[in-house]
Amino acid sequence: MLELGGTFVLLGKHELNDPVQAGKLPIYFNPGYIEDYVFRPERNDLLDILAERGIAGKSVVDVGTGAGFIAIACARLGASPVYAVENDDYPFQHAEANFALNQVDVKLIRRFEDAGQVFDLVINNMNVLSSYLALLPSMAKAMKHDGSMFLEVDEQALHRQAITEQGIPHGMHLLEATMLTSGVKVVKKIKVSSREFWEVKHA
């Protein structure tokens, strides 16, 4: 069992019957997923931000859910409905299995458009510039008029990606320009350890 920030604990499938400390919310995980690490400090920070914010009753979509950590956490915090978007087959299968293991009601879809609704909260913690640039217009459209979007941003990593993948020196300028054309703006930057989480709203 691993503590993930202040609210959640992570347990393996082999710990399914282990007692969970009072006041903690469990996230169970099927073994064998190799696309991401089960323990990442920056994801723990995001879980704390979501728990502190209080998202019970809010509609949430987790974009690029991977193995489904954030979507499971949102469901545990009482968000409803919770959607998880994952396009790649390998993580899709793991997310599906993890949602079943956790017995949470998360709707797993391939594309935003499959949800057919707008959300109070849109989350993307991929920290991948090309993904942010490509998905920001859709994420903006998927956000309610008074809704929020959370992006995980490691500026140094995004700068590196801008240079190596896009061939441009200023990834953050490009991200900000894409926000402008998508009709959204950053309203808050929450700095935690090496990462920032940007809260974005309609402009």
Binding site: M1, L2, P31, I34
Partner: protein, 152 residues
Amino acid sequence: MPNNAIQLWSPDTCDCMIHLAYDDTLPPDQRVFSYVTRDEAEAIIQARRNAGEQNINRNPQPPARSCPAHLAHGFTAVLLDKVRGENQRKNMALALAQNVVNTLSFANYSWSFDSSRVLQVRFMNISVTLQKKNQIQSACDIQFGPGLIQIN
């Protein structure tokens, strides 16, 4: 495009040598590597020689090799699964350890596989508390399932 290129892969986790086929028209981060036998690898390269490519290896593909620990798997896709799985486990265990102890580097990381192919991990020239070691062990058990990695 079908797979048109071959890489002879030799991991740092054992002495196996395995032919992998891939599509070299794809960007490196999008390539999918598949197991092929030495004969299949040779056929892929021969097709390019036959097509008149000049900058293609003229030498026959070297034989694949299975180390003593993986002999039982024969020269099949299972061999690749096992060898790649161990290699990923070794790499991911380090990353998980670094996520728990952020001052830990590759130079502090000592690993070996025991006779049961359990990854034995030790940390050198750095003080890692028992609590942190337990955290790393938990992370490894959750990530891969228990009994595959031992943090010492």
